[in-house]
């Protein structure tokens, strides 16, 4: 394992970067804010994966995961356990909140063969709660959407609305027929409808993918704008 040339190359790059940074600082070419510099270095390190996987990317990836985990942990303590459990029990005398700790602890009994039945009890209670909420959600969320899918085809509306409704109707019926798996699709009508449904699904996936690309490009622009304008001060901007 000859690692010396790689380390030497890395050091040369580091020295070159430091020299460019020092020059930029001296002539006010770059941002003088340490936070901006840190953000710029993090961005470039993460984007280095675009060339190939490397140690720098790995290092910053792990930093990010560590930061996110630590931040999440601190949020749980400061936003949940402290105000919603510790303060009521210790400072407000609401002793019955101790049972919440008991219920929470029951989840961890999954690691013991002897006590794992307690975990099932806790999981069962929460599954019941979520199932109950889902029923409410089905009625209040999906029922209006199902009602809205009944669109008029011959109503006295503008022709383009009727045309849109017709497209909607054909798409709905053909895509639903594609998902009929209870019987074999042998009849030419069902077969043709399912095939059209599959094509229309492809169109929908294309639209979704197009939106995804649009979103990702927006995020790239945000980062490039930061690097070019806030960090490098291209053309003296900001």
């Amino acid at each position: 394992m000859n690692r010396t040339p790689a380390i030497a190359r890395g050091l040369i790059w580091l020295v070159a970067l430091a020299a460019v940074a020092a020059l930029g600082f001296r002539h006010h070419l770059f941002a003088r804010d340490l936070g901006v510099w840190l953000a710029a270095i993090c961005t470039l390190a993460i984007y280095s994966i675009l060339y190939r996987e490397n140690v720098v990317f790995r290092f910053f990836e792990h930093i990010f995961i560590g930061l996110a985990t630590g931040y999440g942990f601190s949020i749980i303590i400061t936003q949940v356990l402290q105000p919603k459990w510790w303060v009521p029990v210790v400072k407000e005398g609401k002793w019955y909140w101790v049972f919440a700790l008991l219920m929470g602890t029951m989840f961890y009994t999954v690691y013991s063969k002897r006590w794992s039945w307690m975990n099932r009890l806790a999981v069962g209670i929460f599954m019941g709660l979520v199932a109950g909420l889902s029923v409410v959600g089905f009625v209040t969320m999906l029922a209006p959407q199902m009602t809205a899918s009944f669109k008029p085809l011959w109503a006295s509306t503008a022709p383009y609305i009727r045309f849109n409704n017709l497209i909607f109707f054909v798409t709905l019926i053909t895509v639903m027929s594609y998902f009929f798996f209870s019987f074999e699709q042998r009849h030419p009508l069902v077969k043709g409808s399912a095939r059209l449904g599959r094509w229309l699904l492809m169109v929908a996936f294309g639209a979704i993918f197009g939106n995804t690309v649009m979103g990702r490009v927006s995020l790239l622009i945000d980062r490039l704008q930061f690097l070019l304008l806030e960090w490098l001060h291209v053309f003296g901007s900001r």
Binding site: M1, L50, Y51, R52, E53, N54, V55, R58, Y71, G72, I75, Q79, V80, K84, L133, V136, G137, V139, T140, M141, P144, Q145, T147, A148, A204, A207, I208, N211, T212, V213, M214, G215, R216, V217, S218, L219, L220, I221, D222, R223, L224, Q225, L228, L229, V234, F235
Partner: protein, 303 residues
Amino acid sequence: MERDWQFWSRRIIWLLLATATALFIVVRVKAVMYVSKPARSLYQAMEKVPPDKIIVLSCNWEAGTRGENGPQTEALVRHCFKRGKRFAIFGWNFPPGPLLAEQIARRVAPEYGRCYGRDWVNWGFKTGQANMIRAWAKNIPGVIKEDMFHTPLARIPAMRGVKTIHDVGLIVDIAPADTLSTYVRFIYGIYRTPLGHACTGVMAPESFPYLDAGQIVGLLKGLAGAAEYEKLVGYEGDALKRMPAQSSAHMLMIALIILGNVLYFRARRRGPSTHSAGSGQAGSGPSRAASRDGETPRRRLSA
């Protein structure tokens, strides 16, 4: 030779993409924007909120989607400031959301002569998801208790008269994930409080059924939605400035897709002997390329 081309072709595409976007970030070109109906509907719904009711900006986003949700939040905040609508910043999905929105509000507020406490309040991040939202609808001060700076809500002028969901004129969920369904289920479905949605481009197709069913009053789709809203509010912010770069990236990608397909079909017509030469654009290329620039160094690193 072929492997070298496979290795470099993707990197050339990324470099072209970066150049196409960077060029229009540096060179300012005025964007021509068409305002879509969903964006206009959201704008009109904001306008209709009476002065005795508060607008809730549910900032369920984080730094990862700042490029899209940031300009959306700024456009909505500017609209509230411009029209003197009091609003509350709130978040319950990603902890940094309310903090990032607060930074935007504090940066913009001096331009309109607005101040914290009187014109807006930040409820901060709250845990509990759907259960919290259900309780919040019935008793806002009871669930929120204090703002993100630990000031009791009773001492904040912007909170006067705000007790239940009936005192909320509009909720706009600014989010990169499916948080809207919680509001639809437990707020619109029960109390009929108007809802708006400002989502990332990825989420936009999933939001259309809500719009079609009338469960949301309007929709901002990604950066383009933010640009449309900026045009409605009447200022040129980040979204409008970024639209030429966005369009140039889209045009480049369309051109590359067409070029890739032309090369693919030309290679296929030539026959199997030359097929591999053109497969750098499609087919077996990516897997080989991945083994060269993805797996090998990973193995080397782990060694």
